[in-house]
């Protein structure tokens, strides 16, 4: 944020993008307790306080805005030697000071490492010929159960992902002794059969504190053709899943797959097993650049209204809460992927069905 917001804009923000409960909870920390039923009154009481940049940044995080939901991608490196990765990163960061890309180590603890990649992206500007946009990506490196490390990062545009991939290549080149494989979950490296199984097994997995309530969207893809199942078809697929049947045996799925389609995207509603919380998780396999992206697209709580009807009340999750949940699903999906890949019939890969 570069400009100090006018009160009238803050009013609009509070009115349109933040719930009454969230406003009250934000101002509580500032020492202002608002006891009011009507949102108008809550806003009028909160609005006069002069807030700092720190406060406004916090407000932006609470806003029910698409951009506040983080896209997460995970890469895996097969090295066991974090020290070597760390020293390669250090050496890279000292070299890059003058260019448009900067690398900075943030902290290092046992078996984990955080670093930050800042780069400048140019895009056609409204006032200047080119606008310089500074992009910052935080990467968390954590030990995984497969004898390597996970690189988790949030990104919002395709270049973020490409930059991180390039960086991983540079890490490898920086130290000739450092040899590792970079893997990520890519549909193209699986046979058609396994691509379906990846989704099926993910739907049927135990997801710790979360359980699948509903498959809200399912998209199939063939070459550049995409199609989405309609509600009725989804209902049939869901029934097949819940009755323990193999997805591939469902007539509709069978027909679709026979036509050479495979699953590429799904939005899944998860309910918390103990609390009234819910999230919608979007699992998306993109093709340019090819990558697996996970994102929470909606979150909140179930509540009962005055007529005892269950309603959904939206509640934004903090970036940390989102990452914690996304990490859980990333790990699950990766485990399924690794198992499928090990047992995959490689001759089937990239063969049109």
């Amino acid at each position: 944020m570069k400009r100090y917001p006018k009160k009238v804009d803050l009013r609009k923000t509070l009115d349109n993008y933040i719930t009454s409960e969230e406003i009250k909870s934000f101002y509580k920390k500032k020492g202002l307790l608002i006891h009011s039923f009507r949102k108008d009154d809550v806003i009028s009481m909160a609005l006069p306080l002069f807030l700092s940049l720190n406060d406004y940044n916090e407000i932006k995080q609470i806003m029910d805005d698409e951009s506040n939901y983080k896209k997460s991608t995970r890469l895996h490196i097969s090295t066991e030697n974090l020290e070597q990765v760390e020293s390669a990163l250090k050496s890279l960061s000292s070299k890059q000071q003058s260019s448009d890309t900067k690398l900075r180590l943030i902290n290092r603890a046992e078996e984990q490492l955080n670093f930050e990649l800042v780069y400048v992206k140019h895009k056609p500007g409204k006032v200047d010929l080119l606008d310089r946009v500074e992009r910052k990506i935080n990467v968390h490196v954590n030990k995984n159960n497969n004898g390597g490390y996970n690189l988790d990062f949030n990104h919002s545009i395709g270049t973020d992902y490409t930059k991180i991939k390039k960086l991983v290549d540079s890490i490898k080149k920086e130290d000739p002794d450092l040899d590792f494989d970079l893997t990520e979950i890519l549909l193209n490296s699986l046979s058609y059969k396994s691509r379906i199984s990846l989704f099926e097994k993910f739907f049927n997995s135990d997801h710790n504190i979360w359980e699948i309530k509903e498959i809200k969207k399912l998209k199939v893809e063939r070459d550049d053709n995409q199609k989405e199942f309609n509600d009725k078809e989804l209902e049939g697929i869901k029934t097949a899943l819940l009755s323990g049947k193999h997805l591939k045996e469902n007539e509709l799925v069978k027909k679709t797959l026979e036509d050479g389609f495979y699953f590429s995207r799904s939005i899944i509603r998860f309910d918390h097993k103990d609390d009234a919380e819910f999230i919608d998780l979007k699992l998306n396999f993109k093709s340019r650049p090819e990558m697996c992206e996970m994102k929470i697209t909606n979150s909140g709580q179930y509540e009962k209204d005055n007529n005892d009807k269950v309603i959904e009340k939206k509640k934004m999750l903090s970036p940390n809460e989102q990452n914690e949940i996304l990490n859980l699903f990333q790990s699950k999906l990766y485990q399924i992927y690794v198992n499928l890949k090990e047992n995959d019939d490689l001759t089937e890969i990239n063969v049109e069905a």
Partner: protein
């Protein structure tokens, strides 16, 4: 022990009165008075009817320039050791104060002053084990407070050591300034914004500090001072901005945007006051001050300079505050 506790409690009430007097608020009536309960069936314990009156610690009022209103404020003063301050205790005090506010609307002892509004309370919590006081924990306690969904709205401000000491430090700074022969006027400043009463659309200078700024990240003030320039003494205007935030460079630039937006630059001198020494941020602050001054220097016909100042942060309530 209870007697000693009562004495200390009274002492704290007295200190609260001194603090609020010093920022231009006016006490109404005596401290510790009762008002009848007008919502007996709602204010009783365990579903029963309430038998007792409500005890009010202190009643104050001030004119709020933002609302153009004479506001009555009910204050509840609590002095405890650190272990006596937690979410459930604060919840009790908030509940008590909320009931006081609800019944104040029909209480003659309050209504006789003819306030334009009396739906605001201030809970002043003092932890006398100041070395144990934890600002972050206090914030967590507040996060846990349950709020009532009232049809007619009430607000309760909660201050504890961190805020209270900053107010005392500010008061001490202003008092010292006012004692200087060269300083002629020192008043709080209320810039306009169009969310407020349309009639009060210009800058207002006032001896009173309102609750809005006491709980905001910024307090504004204006003073005039006589200075010697080229052997000629002249009166200059000074804008003061007191900032209660970690002043990194982004935060300082953001504050400068605020200064411009509210047209606070109309002065020969702009003083940015920080609470405490802010050693970790000195580099940012110096960079910022240098940059703004070089901007001012490059403007033709502008005789203005910006300065940073570090207010001595008090570690306790000044001893003379107990004399009411």
């Amino acid at each position: 022990m209870p007697e000693e506790q009562n004495f200390q409690g009274e002492l704290w009430t007295g200190q609260c009165i001194t603090i609020l007097n010093k920022i231009g608020w006016k006490q109404r009536g005596t401290s510790n008075f009762d008002i009848p309960c007008s919502k007996k069936s709602m204010h009783g314990k365990n579903g029963g009817k309430r038998k007792n009156d409500h005890g009010i610690d202190i009643l104050f009022n001030y004119n709020d320039p933002y609302y153009n209103e004479n506001k009555g404020i009910i204050i509840e003063a609590k002095r405890r050791k650190w272990s006596g301050i937690n979410t459930s205790e604060i919840q009790k005090w908030v509940k008590q104060l909320l009931k006081n506010l609800e019944c104040s609307e029909t209480a003659d002892k309050i209504q006789k002053y003819g306030f334009d509004s009396s739906n605001t309370g201030l809970l002043m919590i003092w932890c006398h084990e100041s070395n144990k006081y934890d600002k972050i924990k206090m914030q967590k306690y507040l996060t846990g407070i349950e709020l009532k969904n009232k049809r007619s709205p009430y607000k309760i401000y909660v201050a504890s050591n961190d805020k209270i000491l900053k107010w005392c430090s500010l008061i001490q700074f202003i008092e010292k300034e006012k004692q200087k022969d060269s300083v002629h006027e020192f008043k709080f400043l209320y810039p306009s914004d169009y969310f407020m009463d349309e009639e009060s659309s210009s800058l207002v200078k006032n001896n009173t500090l309102n609750l809005i700024h006491m709980f905001s990240k910024y307090i504004f003030a204006k003073s005039t001072e006589t200075v010697e320039k080229f052997n000629i003494s002249q009166k200059i205007n000074i804008t003061h901005i007191f900032i209660d935030e970690e002043p990194n460079l982004e935060e300082l630039n953001f504050m400068y945007e605020l200064i411009k937006m509210y047209q606070l630059e109309d002065a020969e001198k702009i003083m940015i006051h920080f609470y405490g020494e802010k050693h970790d941020y000195r580099g940012y602050i110096e960079d910022f001050i240098r940059r703004i001054n070089s901007e001012y220097n490059s403007l033709d016909g502008v005789d203005r300079e910006i300065f940073s100042h570090y207010i001595t942060l008090l570690s306790d309530i000044p001893t003379n505050y107990s004399e009411v």
